[in-house]
């Protein structure tokens, strides 16, 4: 446990050094993006799948099953992410469909980030299958940046049988755009002076950070390429997109000062979970059943993160895709399924229009780590805690003497006998904490 304290200290020092360094010009940033990650991991597990069109789908049996990802062989036949399963099968009858095995992807991901961390401590995981690295201060004996990228790509290929694309650029945005330019198994260097030729001709919707809604708005103003965006009047842009407009334009001009932050993944403001029904429903029993399941998941993830929150949000998507989110802030911190459900039910009673529902989502917001907050005692239950008063006094005395974190309950240890808690979607980044420990 003292070791974990040391790790935190080291991270702080690294962060400070990084900030100092990034004030100077000329960073070298990698964006490492795994190619068809879930499908590739399955192929690495079972080489017989290689060369076959493979799709990973949410729920193969049910109507709402959609393609989560697919191999390049399947993509060649027109299979796309988020396409319904039946449609994919029509395009590609010989399609092999598998349910996701998150445990496998998680293991693979941890191994990949370990390889990245061997090159530099400045690794920022973004999701299960992509991350940034800042190699500005790389070890020159390893070779040029391009050679380092090649070695990394080969290492991931030979050790894990997985392929990735790497973008090399002076900042995160350009690195991200670069890694997209050659897929699969590509390495692309994008220099700032090349953006006119390589970046600007791209259609606006291919720009990272521009979603379909933003693209739609921009096109109304005749902004069709990244180049158009780079040249548009800032004032006009701000009218359309607000403050975000300026940031997007800076990026279109190759400017992105955001640092590679190894701790970004630890900063969380909300923890949530959502699920689509197999069929649209107004059956409150069924809906409450799903709410309980979602609250369970949220509780598990909050415990895992040693976190508590003070605001609960309910998302309801109706059968016509209309989606509402309603939230309630409470004057205390909560982290239990019971408390979460209590508020969810309150919101549900108040805001459900009685129309059929397609999806329910539950999110706890305003999340804080437990160690940062104080716990308000309760008139009806304080006796229980007060009985530990002597213990806490002793802890405080020892903490004053020997420093922090001496007595934090170790959640890993506590759970070691229980089933290990598994994330269920790629959006859950909790597990990314792991590769460092």
């Amino acid at each position: 446990m003292l070791a974990s304290y040391a790790i935190i200290k080291v991270r702080q020092i690294l962060k400070e050094r990084l900030e100092m360094k990034q004030k100077r010009k000329g960073r070298i940033i990698f964006h490492v993006d795994m190619n068809a990650f879930y499908a590739s991991v399955e192929m690495a597990y079972n080489p017989e799948l290689k060369g076959k069109p493979l799709a990973i789908a949410g729920n193969p049996e049910e109507r709402k099953g959609i393609i989560v990802t697919s191999s390049y062989e399947a993509r060649a036949k027109g299979v796309k992410t988020t396409m319904p399963l039946w449609q994919a099968r029509k395009l590609c009858p010989e399609l092999v469909v598998m349910r996701p095995n998150f445990e496998r992807y998680r293991t693979a991901s941890t191994e990949i980030f370990k390889l990245l961390a061997e090159i530099t401590p400045y690794v920022q995981p973004v999701s299960i299958d992509e991350g940034y690295m800042d190699i500005t201060e790389y070890d020159r004996s390893l070779g040029s940046p391009l050679e380092i990228a090649q070695q990394l790509q080969n290492a991931i290929k030979t050790k894990l049988d997985l392929s990735c694309s790497i973008g090399i650029a002076p900042n995160k945005f350009l690195a991200k755009m670069a890694s997209d330019m050659k897929k699969p198994f590509g390495i692309t260097v994008l220099r700032k002076r090349e953006i006119g030729a390589k970046l600007w001709p791209l259609p606006i919707e291919e720009m990272y950070g521009v979603g379909s809604k933003t693209a739609e708005k921009l096109k109304k103003f005749n902004i069709n390429t990244i180049g158009d965006l780079a040249k548009t009047d800032v004032y006009q842009l701000k009218q359309v997109l607000g403050i975000n407009g300026e940031r997007l334009q800076n990026r279109a001009n190759g400017i992105d000062p955001s640092p590679v932050d190894p701790d970004a993944v630890h900063e969380f403001k909300s923890i949530g979970n959502s699920q689509t029904f197999a069929h649209d429903t107004t059956d409150e029993r069924e809906i409450h059943h799903l709410m309980e399941k979602l609250a369970d998941n949220v509780e598990r993830r909050m415990k895992r993160k040693q976190a508590v929150g003070r605001s609960v949000q309910l998302m309801i998507r109706y059968s016509d895709r209309k989606t509402i989110t309603r939230s309630k802030k409470v004057p205390y911190y909560l982290d239990t399924r019971k408390d979460i459900l209590q508020i969810v039910h309150e919101l549900w009673q108040k805001h459900w229009s009685q129309d059929p529902i397609r999806l329910i989502g539950i999110t706890v917001q305003d999340v804080e780590e437990k160690q940062n907050i104080a716990h308000q005692l309760d008139l009806f239950t304080y006796e229980k805690e007060a009985s530990k008063e002597k213990l806490y006094e002793a802890i405080e005395t020892l903490t004053e003497k020997y420093g922090d974190n001496l007595f934090i309950q170790d959640p890993q240890q506590k759970n070691s006998n229980e089933e290990k808690e598994q994330p269920r979607t790629s959006f859950q980044k909790d597990f990314l904490d792991d590769f460092k420990h």
Binding site: H375, Q376, L379, Y382
Partner: protein
């Protein structure tokens, strides 16, 4: 139905009953305001599922005529439009007339509004209170009782009963108690001349807040009647009926410690101002925690700390400290609420340990009690 009424009288009355009218209600007609014209005056009614308010405007009062040309009848008007219209009419008097087709005409000077009314027969009957037993209280005292307790009710529906104030009238003592389970506020007053008694009456905090707003200080007493599920507050011109909360209010008296380990006597205002300053650096989203530490016989130290912002330390002179040394953290907001409610220059604070409730009382042992649970910092 027809009448001509003094506009300022109508405005005041409309404002009062509006407190009970909600735009969102299960019974659509309750979004409206009922107006009844009778020989002896006007009766305005507003209601929602929790409270109903009736306001009466007499034809004349102390020789001053408020209403003229009364033709009896009744109508329900859209509460969304009627109050604004009345407020903005040009002249000192308002004429309201409803015809058989529920068309309502509102005239004042040269302005004329035509509104669609609703049939008053469709407006639900207000429940009649089945009791003759009642007791009286001076209005300013009732308002004080409310002010000193209602802020401590729970705003959460987790335990609905805690969203109300517990009223007790026993052994010639009337008490108001409210708690959200993190703090508790209570006050007791002697009630000599009554034979009414009740023990577990819980009035929604919202009702009491609204009541407090519309009770007019110029009127002297309020008459209170209680039944199983309703409570009625009646003044000369006002009937305020509230639903009671179902369920048993927790027995709070046994939760209040009667011993103490550390006792502090302190000037209310000095403590209040110090806590207020310390709370500047106590982050709202982290329970507003400040820490109190006993230093010597005459000094306590108050600190506020917010890792991202900074730290504040202030020493306060106290009149006396007795008992054990103490270091305790608590919500500055709860402390400020409590100190403000006490309204005495000097307070006595009984602490029973860093993880146990502490009690703030006026130094002269007046039966006002503010109890606060501390926070444990992890």
């Amino acid at each position: 139905m027809k009448f001509i009424v003094q506009r300022d009288k109508l405005i005041a009355s409309v404002q009062d009953v509006m407190k009970a009218i909600s735009a969102r209600t299960a019974i659509p007609i309750l979004t409206g305001m009922k107006i009844e014209a009778k020989k002896n005056g006007l009766l305005l009614t507003g209601s929602n599922s929790d409270i109903s308010i009736e306001s009466h405007i007499p034809v004349e009062e102390e020789g001053i005529v408020h209403i003229e040309q009364i033709e009896e009848g009744s109508i329900v008007l859209q509460a969304r439009y009627f109050p604004e219209i009345v407020r903005k009419l040009p002249e000192k008097t308002v004429e309201v007339e409803a015809d058989a087709n529920l068309n309502v005409t509102i005239r004042s000077g040269k302005a004329e509004f035509n509104l669609n009314g609703q049939d008053a027969d469709e407006y639900p009957q207000l429940p009649k209170l089945q009791t003759d037993e009642s007791f009286e209280l001076p209005i300013d005292l009732l308002k004080n009782l409310i002010k000193q307790t209602v802020f401590a009710v729970s705003t959460m529906e987790t335990r609905p009963i805690l969203t109300g104030v517990n009223l007790k009238l026993e052994d010639n003592k009337l008490s108001f108690t409210a708690t959200d389970s993190h703090r508790l506020a209570s006050r007791e007053i002697p009630m000599d001349s009554t034979n009414v008694s009740f023990s577990s009456v819980v009035v929604p905090g919202k009702s009491l807040n609204e009541l407090s707003k519309i009770l007019d200080d110029s009127e002297e007493t309020v008459e209170i009647s209680v039944t199983n599920n309703q409570i009625l507050f009646r003044t000369k011109h006002l009937n305020f009926l509230s639903r009671l909360l179902d369920g048993n209010y927790p027995e709070t008296s046994r939760l209040i410690p009667d011993q103490s380990k550390t006792v502090i006597h302190i000037k209310t205002k000095e403590l209040l101002n110090t806590i207020d300053r310390a709370s500047l650096l106590a982050k709202e989203d982290r329970n507003n925690v400040v820490k109190l530490t006993t230093k010597s016989n005459q000094i306590v130290e108050i600190t506020g700390n917010s890792p991202e912002v900074g730290r504040v330390v202030e020493e306060v002179n106290v009149d006396s400290i007795q008992g054990e040394e103490l270091k305790i953290s608590f919500s500055s907001k709860y402390m400020l609420d409590a100190l403000k409610a006490i309204e005495y220059d000097e307070v006595k604070i009984d602490f029973t340990g860093a993880m146990r409730p502490f009690i703030i009382r006026p130094a002269n042992n007046d039966p006002i009690l503010q109890l606060i649970l501390p926070v444990r910092t992890y």
